[in-house]
Structures are given as C-alpha cells and as structure tokens.
Symmetry: C2
Subunit: 501 residues, 2 copies
C-alpha cells in the first residue's frame, strides 16, 4: 500500500499547494494589494481554486481511495493513515459533486464582491453591492443544488462548515439557547448599565498593537510561524502549518475593538499551529469545523481574556501602557467595562451574553434568503426589523446594518454564521472539561500562565486537526454530544456575579 | 480565427495566473513571510511553476499556434495579434524543450537556497551555501543542455534574458566597453577623491522612505497600481499590469543606498506600468529583455537621479528633510558625493563609471563556472582575485565578496548579469534619442518635471512590452543596433566635467 498512499499524499499536497497559494492571494488582497490589482486578483484566485478542484476531483484520486480501502480497514480508526484516507474520501465525495466551473465562478465573484464591499461599506451604499449579493445568492443556491436530497436547502452549505449538522439541528440548539439567553439578557439589562467610558478614549494604535501582541505571545501564539497584519475585517489564514497568520484592526477611540479581535484570532491560529506537523499539506491539517474553530477563538478571547483573573495579572501592565487613560480607573471598573452587557448593533463588538442573538438573526436571514422567502432587495429592511424585535435597537444606516459583516461579501450565503454560536457553546463545554482535569487553570491565568490550558487544548483538540469530525471530537473530549448546559452555567455564574442577577 | 485566438488567450491567461501567484509567493517570502513558512513555500512555488509550465507546453497550445499561422501571416508584423502569436510561438518553442520536472526542481531549490542565503550572508558563511550552489550550477547546466547545438554553454541561458545575444556577442561588447572604461577610471582615480562624508551620517529610515517615495511619485510611478516594501535585496515584481511592486532597503548610515535603489526599482516598475493594458495576462505584458529593463532602471536612477539638474530641484527639499545633516553642505559638494568614482567592493553601491567592471567580473565567473574551468569551491577565491586585479580592492570576507548579490542564490548561474551592463549601454543610447526629440528634457528635470521624458519612454519603449525583441526595439527607437558610443560620451562628458579629466 505504501506506493498508493504516497501517490495519494503527493496529489493531495499538490492540491494543497494551490489552495495555500490562493489563500495568500486573498491575504494579500486584504492587507497590502493596491487597488489596481483587484481585477486580475479575482481571476487569479478563481484559476487556482479551479485547478485545485480539478486536480482533487480527478478520477485518479477516486481510484487511489478505492485501492486504499482494504488498507484503511486494516487499521484502527484513529491511525493517521486510516484517518487521512477516511477524511479524504469524505471530502472527495462532496467535491466531485461540484463542477469546477462553479468553483471558479464563485471565487472570481467573491473577490470582486469583497473589493466592492470595502468601498460600499464606508459609503453606506448597499445599492452598489446589491446586484453582486443577488448573484451570490444565486451561486449559493446552485452550490446547494449540487447535493440533491437535502431536507433544507441550507443543509449542504452548513455541512461544509459544520459537518454532521443540518438546518433543523441548528434551529433546535439555537432555540434551546435562546430560551436561556432572552431572560438572562432581560434580567441584566433591567439593571443599571455598566460604565464603559474608560474604554472610549484615545488609545494610540501602536501601543494597542504592542500590548495585544505581548498577550498573545504569552498565550503561546508562535510568531516564528505566524505574523499579524491589519485588515478591514480581522481573520486567520494559513499557508502551511509553518505559516499561520492573523489580522486585526484597531479603533483608536475604543480599546476593546483591536485588543479582543487580536485575542480572538490568536485562538484560531493556535488551534492550527497545534496540529500535528506530519499532517502539513494534507486534508488533516485543518481545524475540523467552523464551530470547533470558533470555540478556540472565543475561549481565548472571552473565557480567558475577559476573565477577572486574567486582568488581575494584565491590568497593571495595561495601566502602565496607557497611564493617561487608566491610572485612576480601578480594576473592577475596567473589568465591568469590558463585560458590559447591552443590546447593540455590531456583532463583533457585542458582549458574550447578547452575541448569540446577533448570530441567530444572521442565521435566520440566511435560511430565509436561501428558501426564497426573503429577497436581497428586502434584506436591509429585514435586518433592521429583526434588530428592532430581537435586540431593541435600530442601526442609523446599512453601514452598521446589513453591510457590517464581511462574510456574505466574500463567501456564499448559508452555512456561514451558525459556527459562531456553536463555537460559543463548545468553548464552555471544552473549558469545563479542561477545568475538571486541571482545577488550577483559573489560578494560573491569574498569574499570566497559560501553559496548562494551552497544553490541554493541544493534547485534546489541536493536534488532531481534522482527524475527528466535530461530533466525534466532542464525544471524545467530553464523553457526550454537544450540549449547552456548561456554557449557560458559565454565563450565569459570571454575569450573575457581575450584575447581581 | 477569432475562437482559436480566444482559446489561445484563455490558456495563456491561465498560465499567467499561475505565474503571477508564484510571483506573489516569492514576494511574500522576501517581505513578510515568517521563517516557519520557508519549507512549504519552496514546494508551493515549485508546484505552481511546474503546473504553469505543463499548461503552457501542452500540445493543445502548439496546435493552436499552428492553426493561427495563416492568420498571423495575414497581419502586419506589429499588429497586436500577430505579435502575440509570434512571441508566444518563440516562448513555446523554448519551453517545450525543458522538462516540467526540471522547472519544479529548480524552483524548489532556488527557494531553499534563497532562504539559506539570507542567513549565510550576515554570518559570512559561504560553506553553508556551497553545496546548494553546486546544485544550482548542476541545474543550470542541465537547463542549458536542454538546448543542444549551442556555441557556448551559457548561450541558452543568456537567450532567456537577452534574446538575440550569445556569450561571444556579450564578450565583444564588454571588451569594447572595457577598453573605454579602464583608462577613464584610471584618469579619474588619479585625481583627489570626492568627499562623500556628507552621505555617511545618520539618516532616519522613515524620512528616507518619505523622500524617496515623493521623488518616484514625481517620476510617475503609480501607487494605485503598485507599492513599496522592504527586502534584503531590492527588486521589482508584478502580479498583473494593475499591481507592479517594488522593494527597497535602507541603510541609516548611508543616504545613497535606499534612495538610489528606490529610484532604480521605480524605473523597472514604470516600464511595466506603461505596457499596453490590453496585453495584461499575456506574454506581451513583460519587459522585453533584461537589458532593456535595466536600461529603464538605470536611466531613472543615474541619468536622471544623479544629474546636477535633478538635484538643483530636489536638494533644497532634501536639505529641509535632513537639516541636521545637510544644511551646511553646498549642492556642489553633495552632487560630487553622489557621483564619487572609486574602486569599491559592492556592485549595487558602485558609481556609474566602475559599475560595469563589477558586472564583467560576475559575467566572466559565470562563464567559467558553466564551462567547468572554475569550481564552486574555488569561487570565493576567484572572486577576490578578480576584484584585486580589476578593481584593486579585496573584500575582508565573503559577505562583501561572493555572498553579496542575491542572484546566484535565487536563480540559475548564467545569463543573469550581462543585462546590467547592456542596460547601462542602452540607457545612454535611448536617452540620447529622447534628447534629440526633446532637447528641453534636462531643463525640465531641473524643474522637477518628468512628463516629457516619461511620455517619450512610454511611447517608444514601455507600451510595447515584449512585442519587439531588444534588437528589434533598439533598431526601431534608434535606427540602428546596440552601440556604446552615446553611453561612453555621456560618461565622459559628465565625469570629465566633475573630475576635470
């Protein structure tokens, strides 16, 4: 079997090389590319994605997978070779259903749409992106239609990001969660609001950058295998397990923006940096699902980075960095400020408690768009309506409404947002298991020590990459399926203490 | 013929997309890539280059070219379609002789060697790169051997860069040039040396950057279709005609380093930015040869950027930028400093008069290596010997000897250096023609106005891209072949006045 396996790995690595090059084209488009490069860039990304898809879906790959079936079955389930063959077979079965031309068309369209969005958002000009978004919806439907037999048209798209989940599964989990969150939000927002004015002062970008970078170094993000740059919308990307980058953005009038986005993206990046190096270039060298990925970013951003213990250690350093802003602000005031719960307009700036309500709005709108019960032209209004009913707020314009998130303007519609809330739920679930194993973790965080937690995550989650599906991983780590109780318990304990509810 | 031509363009654009992505991988490796990315990066560039080569040398391309012969012959020589078919046919005929595996092997090897060189040079550790360089020489020979029937083994490699020239042609031109340069250098260096101490003070990088960027904006380098970053070794690269970038490096203890490298690379970039946009993605969208390319960089760096008129305009601005360094330094002293002729160690820092002697050393060493009359292990010593005999200087170590230039550590050996001196010769030749057409150009330069010169170059050289070979272009622009007289006359006039010789 050795030569067949080697042949498979060679082909998969070639495909990966093309995908990583496409990722670099995208990173560059978001960070440094001059505007004149946009036209060719979309075409280039489309070409690379199409060739990668053609090479992956080649009949020779199917033949190799068939030839390797007996070898796979002779091995234990979690043997690396068996896992590579199993995971590749699953991706192959999906990919062969999608025409290369559609991949190419989508990538070219997304690159163009992204470019227009970067100008349309500051200009509050939804009309400019509307025809592009209509095309996105059409392409997203065509992608879903490659998988006939679905229950809901969003199912195939959700499956790409969170394999094993269907629209109805997500709805069920979200509805269970909403039943807990709505009364919690009400109880909290019935209290006097926290004062977060200390965050809304002038914080020079260079100092914000240095402080955030210092924290993520302490977390264990490896700058030998990564770097941080600035973009409109923060993200994590990789060009191999030796080069996993994050981006951030800063708001000099709001300390929280840049800092927590840095911590967030470092969580994504540490997950990928922790994957077994031997998987590099192969389909195992990926986070296993959008939800699990998000669990890692939210864990480091919120459970760690917004905890009282964390700030007992870092607040003196932050005060020393920004003495003019913070020297007379007590730790408790600062801690309340960064955990202020409020019904607000912007998802990425939302507190932990209301955040999921933002996600649910997007998820429901995605389903409605795909079903055809909502048209793109009515989307801005539908957005405002849902924000009014769910969060009691109305954006003054589309800039902070339907134009706020990059996702629909750089990817398909559908399967994109559920991962954020699944990730929150999983972050609580996994963290509870880490605490069971190492009850000392919160005390360590209070000393700025993250090694025990980082190692537990590497051991239990990171190293496996895509070897286990999200349900398999969760079963393995927690002994059961995804459940919301530990996350709800985390929220109630933390915010109960903060708001006396 | 329309569908065949369209099919050819589609294929060529696909090949170009892969090449441009490979160029971005390389740019990123030189600018921002963390060290952990190096391993996969070489493989990725190799994969993309190989697939581009496979797609370009596909029999279908040959068939399309055959099918288009009649159409080509029905058109005037300089019709865009005829030129595209002609130039593509020429490149195709060369490319099909090279196995894709060799392309892949070379690219992977170059990426690895480059990475090692970036560490070996500061460490003065030739031994570390020696085995890699031996492999480079072997690969370079194998590349040349793909073209049997050559007179000199370097001929096929020279042909890639400066089509139409053979080793013997270059030798003849170089020998003619050397006969003029050696007595000129002697006459100048018999005079008291210029005082360039005003350049060797502390010049903060940020201010150098801003000043240089201001000049190249004035030149006409378009930052909407380009940008500047920092690298070990400055270069120009492109990812399409809408995205043509330059890199530079700064030395805070020497003003000339960064400034003139910026002007130099901007010349390369303006050439590419001036190519007819309709050629984008096709083989016509390239500078036509190494020599012609270099003529544009040297023209803007030296003939313009080291001229007295230029500094009559810019010196007050430079003094205002660096008052502590320059406010008491007269223009004449500064002008002499930036044109100081001296026998020195570093090619890129060499003055206009001695520069070509540096190139000739490298060219001769390349030929000797390829012929087998010089071994890589003896290269550092051969380098020192030639510098002692030709320039009367000896580097204290290999850092400023054989390790100084990136070329052999990131590309093949052979065909690499002759373009620099051909470029100098052509810069004098073309500039003389521009002056014939517009005698007012020097006066305009003295007012910081570059439009007439830039437009003349765009009209006569830039727009054509690779439509004409270098000999065709030179014939077209100057009415005759390459000749050294105008360049020698430029040097003698300028330096005769400066040194009274």
């Amino acid at each position: 079997m050795e030569p067949k396996l080697q042949a498979l790995k060679t082909r998969l690595t070639e495909v990966n090389d093309l995908q990583m090059a496409a990722a670099l084209l995208q990173w560059d488009q978001s960070t440094y590319m001059p505007s004149g490069g946009a036209g060719a860039r979309g075409r280039q990304m489309a070409t690379l994605s199409r060739i990668a898809h053609e090479k992956f879906t080649d009949a020779a790959v199917g033949q190799l997978l068939d030839d390797l079936t007996a070898y796979e079955q002779s091995l234990p389930f979690d043997h690396d070779d068996a896992s590579l063959i199993r995971v590749t077979r699953r991706e192959f079965a999906k990919s062969v259903k999608i025409p290369s031309a559609l991949i190419s068309e989508m990538n070219q369209h997304f690159a163009q749409t992204y470019q227009v969005w970067t100008e349309a958002r500051p200009a509050n000009d939804f009309a400019r992106v509307r025809p592009l978004l209509e095309k996105t919806l059409e392409l997203s439907r065509r992608m879903a239609e490659c998988f006939p037999g679905y229950t809901h048209i969003a199912d195939p798209l959700i499956d790409f990001a969170d394999a094993g989940m269907k629209a109805n599964d997500v709805r069920r989990v979200f509805s269970e969660l909403r039943a807990e969150l709505v009364p919690l939000v009400k109880a909290i927002t019935d209290q006097p609001p926290a004062d977060d004015s200390c965050l809304r002062q002038f914080y020079p970008e260079a100092k914000q950058w240095a402080f955030g970078e210092g924290v993520i170094r302490d977390y264990g993000y490896d700058f030998q295998r990564g770097r941080q740059d600035k973009t409109h919308h923060p993200f994590m990307t990789k060009f191999g397990l030796g080069d996993i980058r994050i981006t951030t953005r800063f708001n000099e009038d709001d300390l929280g923006d840049g800092l927590f986005s840095t911590l967030h993206e470092s969580g994504h990046a540490m997950y990928e940096q922790g994957i077994t190096m031997a998987y590099d270039g192969l389909p195992l060298a990926n986070g296993t699902s959008a939800g699990v990925h998000e669990s890692q970013s939210r864990l480091w951003e919120n459970i760690v980075g917004r905890s009282r213990g964390f700030w007992e250690h870092y607040y003196p350093r932050l005060q020393a960095t920004f003495p003019e802003n913070l020297k007379s602000v007590p730790l408790d005031t600062f801690y309340r400020a960064i955990n202020k719960v409020q019904k607000s307009l912007i998802r990425v700036d939302a507190d932990e408690v209301t955040y999921n309500l933002h996600v649910m709005i997007r998820f429901d709108l995605e389903l409605a768009l795909l079903e055809g019960s909502l048209a793109i032209r009515d989307l801005p209004e539908a957005w405002h309506t849902r924000y009014a009913s769910d969060l009691g707020v109305t954006a003054p314009d589309d800039r902070d409404g339907v134009l706020q998130d990059v996702h629909w303007y750089s990817f398909n519609i559908g399967g994109v947002f559920q991962g954020y809330t699944l990730g929150n739920i999983l972050s609580g679930l996994y963290y509870a298991k880490a605490l069971e194993a190492h009850p000392d973790i919160p005390a360590q965080i209070g000393r700025g020590e993250f090694g025990t937690l980082h190692n537990w995550l590497r051991e239990n989650i990171y190293q496996h990459g895509a070897k286990y599906t999200a349900p398999e991983l969760t079963e393995r780590v927690t002994g059961g399926p995804l459940r919301i109780a530990p996350y709800i318990s985390y929220l109630k304990t933390k915010y109960g203490e903060l708001y006396g509810v």
